[in-house]
């Protein structure tokens, strides 16, 4: 009788522990997209008038394969003479995140190469910007207020 009571008690305890355990954190595609939009909303006051690069142009523009990401937000300055650019991507997996990070760094380098002799002011801005990575989330952030954009990306919720 005691053994049975003990077994029952242990079973109940095990069930309670399972119920109390924190659920595994899953970032769904929808969640990542929403987080990117929230982060971008926080960035907007620090940016000039921006325009969206449509998804079907991302491969042409950056060389990033559609299979490598599950969510994206891409904006460039409407005035092409300004360097401001925001690219946020949720990579499909770690390997894809590595590839995306590499391509965005190349993009930043190309921007710097374009601006170095053409527009020293914009070159100075680009030189202080970079690519940030948070797990499988990768972002290229270019703005005179680079730190504000980094903070908004880190705080996305």
């Amino acid at each position: 009788m005691q053994k049975k009571s003990l077994s029952l008690l242990l079973t109940v305890c095990a069930l309670c522990l399972c119920a109390c355990a924190k659920p595994a954190l899953e970032t769904t595609t929808q969640d990542a997209g929403i987080l990117f939009n929230n982060a971008y909303t926080a960035m907007e006051p620090n940016l000039p008038e921006m325009m969206e690069i449509p998804e079907d142009m991302i491969l042409d523009y950056y060389g990033i394969e559609p299979a490598d990401y599950t969510a994206s937000l891409v904006r460039i300055s409407v005035d092409n003479m300004l360097a401001d650019e925001v690219v946020m991507m949720e990579a499909s997996d770690e390997a894809a995140a590595e590839r995306i990070e590499g391509l965005l760094k190349e993009r930043l380098q190309a921007k710097a190469g374009e601006a170095e002799n053409y527009s020293p002011e914009q070159f100075a801005i680009i030189s202080k910007c970079g690519v940030v990575r948070d797990g499988q989330s990768v972002a290229l952030l270019v703005s005179a207020d680079y730190q504000a954009l980094v903070d908004a990306f880190a705080a996305r919720s």
């Binding site: 325009m51 690069i53 491969l59 060389g63 092409n80 003479m81 190469g113 002799n117 053409y118």
Partner: protein, 294 residues
């Protein structure tokens, strides 16, 4: 006897009635049935002079089908003229690219399926390199490429080029024309059936003119560019005229920086000039119009 006579009388009367019923009545006038009588056509015997033809009823012949007027230059009809093309150039073309991307949200067929490859400091000199330059190169899918390389990678056979301002083309025309000739040859080497449209250099604002960059110089360069196109089979597209004001300078309203780059209004005027070109190509028969899309 009387009965017999009565019988005979009845028979005679019945017989008379029967005869009257059968139709021994007086003939009546037949109503004329209107019949269309065909006019006589004179048939002339072979050895007699033809008789004067009689008047025949007029037979309405269908009027010849009038050729429909071509759609006006701004019509979506001309979008397809720009299909499967790439626009290449410098920061001025980048401005056009941004405007077209923005407008395509509402008008997806604007400039057909044309794509863009432009870089701020790209110029004629860099365009002639056999390999993509390390800086200021055109890029496609994240890689630096030459113009022929981009055309091959995109699998396009039509290219619209606008270069020269970054080379100060108006101040050393011969060198720039030589570079343009080299570029055209390089493109045809890589894409033998390429259709090459060379867009005129765009003007600068009056305030934006510099010693090495004047509208007079650019106009002279464009004249030489047109002549080069005639020699090489490339097609010259005049964009410059549509952007100028009465002072022969870039209309300030069309400039984003009161210098050389286009505002939204300038990009619209540029697109208008392109569609005007497409319209003229259609009217002249050089372009047959859009293919049937399945």
């Amino acid at each position: 006897m009387k009965a017999f006579l009565r019988c005979i009388a009845v028979v005679v009367l019945a017989f008379a009635m029967l005869l009257s019923l059968i139709g021994c009545s007086a003939p009546t006038a037949v109503e004329a049935i209107p019949v269309a009588v065909p006019a006589n056509t004179a048939v002339a015997p072979s050895n007699t002079p033809a008789a004067a033809p009689t008047a025949t009823a007029a037979v309405a012949t269908p009027a010849p089908t009038a050729t429909p007027a071509p759609p006006p230059p701004g019509d979506r009809f001309y979008d397809a003229f720009f299909d499967d093309a790439v626009f290449v150039g410098d920061s001025i073309t980048q401005g056009l690219q941004n405007y077209v991307i923005h407008l395509r949200k509402d008008t997806p067929s604007l400039l057909g399926t044309a794509r863009f490859a432009a870089a701020k400091s790209f110029n004629l000199e860099r365009a002639c390199f056999r390999k993509a330059p390390s800086d200021g190169a055109l890029r496609y899918k994240g890689k630096a490429m030459t113009i022929p390389g981009i055309m091959t990678a995109m699998d396009v056979h039509t290219v619209y080029i606008m270069l020269g301002v970054n080379d100060w083309a108006g101040s050393h025309i011969d060198d720039c024309i030589e570079n343009y000739a080299t570029l055209i040859a390089r493109i045809l080497e890589a894409v033998p059936d390429a259709v090459i449209y060379v867009q005129s250099c765009t003007p600068v604002t009056q305030k934006g003119e510099k010693a090495k960059l004047t509208n007079v110089g650019l106009d002279a360069f464009n004249v030489s560019l047109r002549a080069l196109c005639e020699q090489t089979g490339a097609r010259y597209v005049d964009i410059s005229t549509a952007l100028k004001d009465e002072t022969n300078c870039l209309n300030p309203a069309y400039s984003s920086d009161n210098y050389v780059h286009m505002s939204k209004e300038g990009a619209e005027a540029w697109i208008g000039a392109l569609y005007q070109y497409a319209y003229e190509a259609y009217v002249s028969g050089a372009w047959e119009g859009p293919e049937e899309r399945n």
